[in-house]
């Protein structure tokens, strides 16, 4: 089990590095898709199957397709000169290291201190994180999707409404920005064309 997690994690991290470093934008979009797939793999290993599938459907299916559309639409020249990242390495690596170590050390040390048990055996590191008894699986068999469904539409309905407003704003905004129907284009108005009557179209000239 840990092997799969390690494989997905390694692939995910390396392809997200490649997203930034690839000089051809189409390659970086493909690496982005690879990152999404690997993350959904990690989620499957953790038992969140609904989220893994939603990641695949929404992230890979829609967002990565949109990125591909835009990359294809704007004919972006391929980066010839691979400007050296060595300039950034000292500063970037330094900040990255500080940020990464600080958060990880802070997290590792006192991850869930509430359990006094954990402090009696401080020597071996594995005991620090108590293995939980997963009550969810032992009692009623509620899959992830049902658990989410029960709660979103009743308890947290306010977030659900906010999500619909956000989608509405995104729709209005995208159309307002990109749609320009120039009046010169003659459009087919099917209903008017069908509803045309002889009497109204032909008038006696005399």
């Amino acid at each position: 089990m840990n092997l799969f997690l390690a494989v997905f994690a390694a692939l995910g991290i390396s392809s997200s590095i490649m997203v930034i470093r690839a000089n051809n934008p189409v390659y970086s979009v493909l690496y982005l898709i690879l990152v999404f797939v690997n993350v959904s793999g990690i989620l499957i290993l953790q038992g969140l199957d609904f989220f893994a599938m939603i990641f695949l459907v929404v992230y890979v299916g829609a967002i990565a397709v949109l990125f591909l559309f835009v990359v294809m639409m704007l004919n972006i020249k391929i980066e010839e000169r691979q400007e050296s990242m060595l300039r950034y390495v000292p500063v970037g690596a330094g900040i990255g290291l500080i940020f990464f170590l600080e958060v990880i050390i802070a997290l590792d040390k006192e991850f869930v201190p509430l359990n006094p048990l954990a402090f009696t055996s401080l020597d071996n590191d594995s005991a620090l994180i108590p293995e939980y008894l997963h009550w969810g699986t032992t009692l009623g068999q509620k899959t992830g999707i049902e658990a989410i469904g029960q709660v979103i539409y009743t308890y947290y309905f306010y977030y659900f409404f906010m999500a619909s407003f956000i989608l509405l704003v995104a729709m209005i905004g995208a159309i307002l920005l990109t749609l320009h129907n120039d009046p010169k284009v003659k459009r087919q108005e099917v209903f008017e064309q069908n509803a045309r009557e002889f009497s109204r179209t032909i008038q006696k000239a005399s």
Partner: protein, 492 residues
């Protein structure tokens, strides 16, 4: 379980009315838009303004004053009512300003009104949100609307570049906010401010919890909020966006989101993390110092009007952060008072800038202000008095708010903040007076003076009201004291 919340929708009457009005406006606009785009925009503006006025009345008459709604994701208390009223007033003023602007700039998109109403709705929900998820959704809902509004003029390079920059930095700061929120969720298991407040009661600097990454999460949260109100170390984006976006949208940027974000800052840091005062007080202490200095020094080198207003709003954010850094109720009351007077001053300043329009277009450089007193003496007088009140000259409104904030800072023994506040307002006096000198004493070379386009009714009305407010607030400030006091008390 479902019978608990009958009164939930009673508390949300203003928002539901705004939403229903909005959707009917959208349907009406898109159905009848075919032949008559420009009349449609002014129709929408009038009916949208009416819709906002009704929401304001509903807000003042709302039956419930203190309540937690929708399974403790929303809260209604004195502060949220006060800030919602201010947000509605500011959007009404923006609608007033945009009547003539949309015709002159030939923006024929009626969705401008719909997006502004959606942004107001999201600001009202943001002010009364009570946990990290509803706060995040409200922030995103508002900033999506504002990204589109910033890039509204599709054929103008500045506007699209402003929209792009605002988008990148807005998404970036939301990423920071989410990282902080997820860390705090990971370690405490709850995202509700009240539960966080209860969980952290009595947590001192030496407690086990506080060495861990709750403080890291708090750091990320405060960085994200400081990004959004463009406080000093993270303010680089705001002059460009303020200059690029259409002027009315810049007015909206500099007024409404700052109101809501200060309400959110108070809600998060005074309700949820008050026991971490020792850690986030230093952050706000440093940021208010830095933004006061940047606000005043940055404005000295400005050539364009809108960039100057952007830097002056950074300076005002710095003054308001003093109130946050004090950590006391007086500081809060100082913030609320300052927000009210900042709203009045900015609306006045922007309506003056908008009425400087000449026939061939909008003034962009400060030099266009030359010999304004010959063109229209009253406008020059109004603008100079507004600038005086922004600098904080005693008899005017700006002095009242700064005076109150510095006293709150002195009470909380933040002496350096108060002293530096006074110093930076002296420096800001310098560049305000340099504009007034430009208006009165510089003689423009060309002989004939370009006549200004006439000021239309709504803008004149707004100029009069805000000018009256700036001049005479000093005589009878007690209603505003009572209002801000009630708002501050609701946080205690």
């Amino acid at each position: 379980m479902f019978y608990l919340f009958e009164s939930d929708f009673l508390g949300l009457i203003p928002e539901t009315f705004l939403l229903l009005g909005l959707s009917t406006l959208l349907g009406y606009g898109v159905w009848y838009e075919k032949g008559r785009e420009s009349e449609m925009t002014s129709h929408q503006l009038w009916v949208g303004g009416l819709c906002l006025a009704f929401t304001f009345i509903l807000l003042c008459e709302s039956p419930l004053m203190n309540m937690i709604l929708c399974f403790n994701t929303l809260i209604i208390d004195g502060m949220s009512a006060y800030l919602k009223a201010l947000i509605l007033l500011s959007t009404l003023c923006i609608f007033g300003l945009s009547f003539s602007y949309l015709q002159q700039e030939r923006i024929k998109a009626f969705e401008y009104v719909i997006l502004l109403l959606l942004a107001t709705l999201s600001l009202m929900l943001m002010v009364s949100s009570y946990d990290f998820i509803s706060l995040y959704l409200a922030i995103e809902f508002q900033s999506l609307g504002l990204y589109v509004l910033a890039a509204l003029k599709r054929d103008n390079e500045y506007s699209t570049e402003a929209g792009l920059k605002y988008f990148v930095l807005g998404a970036f700061s939301s990423g920071f906010y989410l990282f902080g929120a997820s860390l705090i969720y990971g370690l405490t298991g709850t995202t509700n401010f009240e539960d966080l407040g209860i969980l952290f009661t009595g947590v001192g600097p030496t407690d086990l919890f506080t060495q861990g990454s709750v403080v890291v999460g708090l750091l990320f949260l405060s960085v994200a909020f400081l990004f959004k109100i463009s406080a000093a170390p993270f303010h680089m984006w705001s002059p460009d966006v303020y200059e690029g976006a259409p002027t009315v949208i810049t007015a909206f940027f500099s007024v409404a989101p700052k109101l809501a974000l200060f309400g959110v800052l108070i809600r998060v840091f005074y309700l949820g993390f008050f026991d971490f005062l020792f850690s986030w007080q230093q952050i706000f202490f440093f940021c208010s110092l830095a933004s006061m200095v940047f606000g005043s020094f940055g404005a000295l080198a400005q050539v364009k009007i809108k960039r100057l207003l952007a830097f002056s709003s950074i300076g005002h954010v710095g003054y308001m952060l003093i109130g946050l850094a004090t950590g006391s109720l007086q500081g809060l009351q100082g913030i609320f008072l300052y927000l009210l007077i900042y709203l009045v001053m900015t609306i006045n300043a922007f309506s003056v800038v908008l009425s400087l329009r000449t026939h061939e277009g909008e003034p962009r450089f400060l030099l266009d202000l030359k010999n304004l007193n010959l063109k229209s003496p009253i406008l020059a007088l109004t603008f100079s008095l507004t600038l005086f009140s922004m600098a904080g000259i005693p008899p005017l409104a700006g002095f009242l708010s700064k005076f109150y904030l510095f006293f709150a800072a002195l009470d909380a023994s933040l002496y350096s903040l108060a002293i530096l506040g006074v110093l930076s307002s002296v420096i800001s006096c310098f560049y305000y007076i340099s504009i007034i000198k430009l208006m009165y004493f510089h003689k423009a070379e060309e002989v004939q003076l370009k006549p200004l386009v006439g000021i239309d009714g709504q803008k004149g009305f707004l100029l009069g009201i805000t000018f009256f407010g700036i001049l005479f607030i000093f005589l009878y400030p007690s209603p505003f004291f009572l209002l801000s006091h009630a708002a501050a008390l609701s946080i205690s």
